[in-house]
């Protein structure tokens, strides 16, 4: 019996040591634009949108650029949604940042998208970040890669660099995240259609969104 407890103790120590090893973090992330500021101020910004302002339905997506499910949705489902619902003027799509704290670079990626958005290139940067999502699996510092994405997205790189260095949209991103928390968002992507959360046992597809939008009666002016 005593031998068993000695073995259990040794196993506990070995597993504890392994846990400490596994929790060793990678080299620190770039400082600028990577973290939420101590004070968060509402600058009135409520997310970049695609689609017409006159669209009768608004979909709000809480998004994390490092989230693989968000990437899958952006690459697989969103093109059809754009074609069927957004380009036809039925839906306006609004992006709200919800960087998850388990991701090392999602806040940084959100900031890169905001810096591109400042120059009117949010959709292009969004597509770059999600369309080349391997960066999220390497764990390597993506500063240079995001700069390349910005260049490809048609962003003025000098202004982008200054924006990223200043981290001036950090408060805006954190405000969006806190807004999401208040709306009980606890994962990404989370969608709201005209203010109502889309609850599903699986990731909604373009067909699901079409059905949801079809079910909303069109208001006649």
């Amino acid at each position: 019996m005593n031998r068993f407890y000695v073995m259990l103790g040794v196993l506990t120590l070995a597993l504890g040591a392994m846990l400490v090893y596994l929790l060793q973090t990678n080299p620190s992330a770039p400082r600028a634009a990577t973290e939420a500021p101590a004070t968060v101020v509402d600058d009135g910004f409520r997310g970049y949108t695609i689609g017409r302002d006159s669209a009768p339905v608004e979909v709000v997506e809480y998004v994390d650029f490092e989230c693989p499910v968000c990437a899958s949705f952006a690459v697989v489902q969103l093109p059809t949604i754009k074609e069927q619902l957004i380009a036809t003027g039925r839906v306006k799509w609004r992006y709200r940042d919800f960087p998850l704290n388990i991701h090392k670079y999602s806040f940084f990626a959100a900031h890169a998208a905001q810096c591109a958005g400042e120059q009117g290139k949010f959709p292009e940067m969004h597509d770059q970040l999600f369309g080349n999502h391997r960066w999220a699996q390497t764990g390597q510092n993506p500063t240079g890669l995001f700069r390349e994405f910005a260049k490809t997205a048609g962003v003025d790189v000098a202004r982008y660099d200054a924006c990223m260095k200043s981290g001036r949209f950090a408060a805006r991103i954190e405000f969006s995240r806190q807004e999401g928390l208040q709306r009980n968002v606890n994962g990404t992507p989370t969608f709201f259609v005209n203010g109502t959360e889309v609850r599903s046992s699986r990731l909604p597809t373009s067909d699901d969104f079409k059905k949801l939008v079809d079910a909303i009666p069109v208001r006649r002016k």
Partner: protein, 144 residues
Amino acid sequence: MRHRQSIAILALVGWFVALYLGLHALGIGGELKCGTGGCETVQTSRWAVLFGVPVAFYGVVGYTAILAVTLVGLQPAWLARRGPSLLVAALATGGVLFSAWLTYLELFVIDAICRWCVTSAVIMTAIWLVSLHALRTPATRTDP
């Protein structure tokens, strides 16, 4: 006794696996050491949180309960009693069903496999099988 010792060892290993996933969910330790992107896909999906609590912590609680009951069951006063074996079998049954649901989500909903989650599911299944075997075996008193 051998059954309970085996379950204690398995529960201890499972507890560390669940704790690792739970700490990751709290943002401690950076990215999961996974080898593929599957762990991140699963851990960042909306099914990684249940009732506001990261799913991994349900595992931590489950393994803690199994380990505690088993260690009590290994005490001389409890060795010949079936109560601890019954309780562990009941806990493990719940654990296996929960693991099966999570594995189903990984395979058919999220479309990604988290190796740590699979490891936990295998450990819980092993505990369940050993606990069932223990119930079929007459309890014998084995003094130290």
